[in-house]
Amino acid sequence: MSGNQGLLIFGPDGGPTKVRNAYDSRKPRLQADMTRTPKHMAILDDFPGGTGLVSTADGSISREILLPIPHHLPYTPEAIVYFYVKKYNGSITDPKAGLYGGNIILYSGSSGTIADQIVVEVDSQEVRIVHTLQDLGFGGGYVSDAAKYLLRLKYYIFSNNSHVASYSDTAVVV
């Protein structure tokens, strides 16, 4: 199909010459394949937040892979994971519970000297949910409270090439 062929559907105020049609088959989209195994879009309930990683020294990074998801795509895909804190220390009313966010959850001890978080790593083989503990000057001995977190997460693995070998989004809105 060339750039001049396709399916156009006009919007309520649209027409064939409008910049914005309700649907234009010439434009690609972010799309998650619902036929894949493992699933490229799924909700994982009662997902454990990790274990009590202990920082060893300034500058140290400890990590544990909580879930690898092989994607079987021929490139490093775009992926988004929304994390929802279902319970903290068994409580749904704790202020740390009932919150969600995309691609990163900062755990309660995170500060200027500790980065204790759940992140998403993506490469050409898999999407990984990873718990990391980074010592940024605490001096070692910090114990993560990740085990108190019970999560629900929803992930999307899009059949869209990210054009990078691997990535892990860092906190943007902090």
């Binding site: 919007g11 309520p12 998650a32 929304y82 990535y167 943007v172």
Partner: protein, 272 residues
């Protein structure tokens, strides 16, 4: 077009009559998150010695509005710049996309080289837009079906391809529909509040909106237009929600300023 005409195509295995809004693959009453274009770029910047921020144009998108877009860094050679001083921003005006960061005193004259990838969506993320809400609760779940619809994106792939990126539409895939976009400013406590009227906690993307007056002193730059940064799924923020409102706070620092938002019809945590 009145409400009696149009086209609705649901995900494979979902009944048209009972599909939730987010189970549609096409619904001509609202927008989907179409990609206007995507491309790699390479930028070389040799300026040095200044303490001011600088900008470098990456490309013209000529869309005429502030688009939702994403950015990924492919390679980076700082040219000797201390990484601690590397604070990159990719920003869009209504016509172009720029790279913005700073050199500080003592920088080497070795040029900085950066290669990246931009995906620009055909969506004004700052425009006040609210799609109608029809069905929020699905009565059927997507499943295997022998009935569906596929539209290829280009001639190179076959209709039986199993690679969804070959298709503009494939009812075996989930595409994100745009429910609401607009601008919102934090209140005195650093809280962003958005009323979305969806009936369930939604997925959300945020992009910082910056007016020329927001950049002052050494942070000033030649752009005299409003800009937006690349959008992200509220990464690192604390998001809470009721069925019809979503609230965003900073996790470690107070959120400030004005933000463009894009809320999709996709639930953040409910069954699909």
């Amino acid at each position: 077009m009145d409400e009696k005409s149009g086209l609705i195509v649901d995900q494979a295995g979902v009944s048209v009559r009972s599909a939730a809004d987010y189970q549609k693959t096409i619904d001509s009453r609202w927008k989907f998150l179409d990609i206007a274009f995507e491309q790699e770029f390479e930028m070389v910047h040799a300026d040095s010695g200044a303490t001011h921020w600088w900008i470098e144009k990456l490309l013209d998108h000529n869309l005429g509005y502030l688009p939702a877009f994403t950015y990924r860094q492919i390679t980076l050679d700082l040219g000797g710049l201390n990484p601690l001083f590397f604070a990159p921003e990719v920003i869009a005006t209504s016509r172009s996309i720029y790279f913005r960061t700073r050199y500080v005193s003592g920088d080497p004259t070795t040029p900085m080289r950066i290669k990246g990838f931009l995906r620009v969506f055909a969506q004004d993320i700052t425009a006040e837009f609210l799609a109608p809400v029809e069905f929020i609760t699905p009565s059927t779940q997507p499943g295997l079906s022998t009935v569906g619809m596929k539209i290829l994106k280009n001639q190179g792939a076959g209709i039986n391809s199993h690679e969804m990126s070959d298709f503009s539409i494939n009812t075996s895939a989930k595409a994100l529909a745009v429910h609401r976009t607009g601008l919102v400013t934090t209140d005195a406590t650093g809280l962003l509040s958005i009323n979305h009227r969806l009936g369930y906690p939604p997925t959300i993307f945020l992009a910082r909106f910056i007016k020329p007056a927001d950049w002052t002193s050494v942070f000033a730059n030649p752009i005299t237009e409003n800009v937006v940064q690349a959008m992200n799924p509220a990464a690192g923020a604390k998001v809470s929600a009721t069925t019809n409102d979503v609230f965003v706070r900073g996790a470690q620092s107070v959120l400030v300023g004005t933000w463009a938002y894009l809320i999709t019809k996709e639930p953040a945590e409910l069954a699909v």
